[in-house]
Symmetry: C2
Subunit: 210 residues, 2 copies
């Protein structure tokens, strides 16, 4: 398991004997905490696990992949298979860029002179606190993710920055229509996330443990 | 109440008779939903309300301010008073920039050709979904906030972008130490947010309604 596939799978396949079945996988679930104590029984319930099997079609390997898929299903997860390069791009969008942005905004806020760190913490309920959660994820793991998925992350980051410049320009020139259009469009994505069962509209986001 | 103070307070004071006490305020609480139905009894519990009174020291005005502070306290909120310009800068950091970034990343993700919107939604539990929540906030209100607090937002956005470029460069050149340092530093801010009682470390963020 892990958040980067292409580079890791290549290294792993090269390192193990040919008799070993390598089936890279990635459960898209969890919190900002890590280690066994951060687990809970419902962690994988209704979450997706991505498997990125090798391009092999011998029966023994296919059977091993299916056994692993069944394992994840038994934990309550839904399983999707995809190409490892596509996995790395999908995760660059849905996980790596969000983490990078969160780390960055928390760093920016911490470094301001005019606003104190105490103020940032006290008044964080206006949106900032959600970013601090993500930015509390394990530093070693995330350093390695960004270095291991460099190309996809920089590609997505480049697009993000372009879009942000356009938004900045719209604010500077008072282009309210442009802002309104984007802000309406993003609501649709939120609806899709809720419909996909990945979150609820409740204030606690449907993330009750029980 | 409202998320921008300086421009609004000025317009309001100019518009009402001198006998009216204008006491701008801003409760830092709420979800991405708006309107009376989005309220719940514990909404303001342990959250901060900022009052930005005018620079007046006549007894009648001070009494009105105190009465309003008591009102918020009675709802369970903690009250802080500050200068309206400082409010707008604090909120640019703790609320406006987070919303801008969230709107932007959701827009970027929606526009990709290589990754479908369905994939973005399905695999959003890796971090992205938290941004979709914020990016589902009311478009009209947020358009007006960005236009009404333009200077502070652009100032903070400029710093954010600078920091992001540095981070992008660190990834490109494989500067793992720089990444690790930032990612460790941001964890401290998270601890501060939790200590300030603005969130818990539970997977549901302590946002149970009851």
């Amino acid at each position: 398991v892990g958040s980067v596939k292409a580079a890791v799978a290549e290294a792993l396949v090269a390192a193990v004997p040919a008799s070993v079945f390598v089936v890279p996988g990635h459960p898209i679930a969890g919190t900002e905490q890590s280690g066994p104590d951060a687990g809970f029984a419902e962690l994988f319930q209704n979450r997706w696990t991505i498997l990125t099997p090798q391009a092999r079609d011998d029966d023994a390997y296919l059977e091993a992949v299916q056994r692993l898929a069944d394992f994840w299903s038994a934990l309550g997860a839904k399983v999707e298979r995809m190409d490892e390069k596509h996995h790395d791009l999908v995760l660059a969008v849905t996980s790596h860029l969000p983490h990078l942005i969160a780390y960055n905004i928390v760093g920016t806020a911490a470094d301001l002179e005019e606003v104190t760190q105490a103020e940032v913490m006290k008044f964080s309920a206006g949106g900032f606190r959600d970013f601090t959660r993500i930015a509390a994820s394990d530093p070693t793991m995330w350093r390695d993710i960004f270095l291991g998925n460099k190309d996809a992350v920089l590609e997505i980051l480049g697009r993000f920055t372009e879009d942000l410049q356009a938004l900045s320009r719209a604010i500077r020139w008072g282009d309210g229509d442009k802002l309104y259009d984007l802000f309406s469009r993003t609501r649709e994505i939120r609806r899709g996330v809720i419909q996909a069962g990945q979150e609820s509209a409740e204030p606690n986001f449907g993330r009750d443990r029980r």
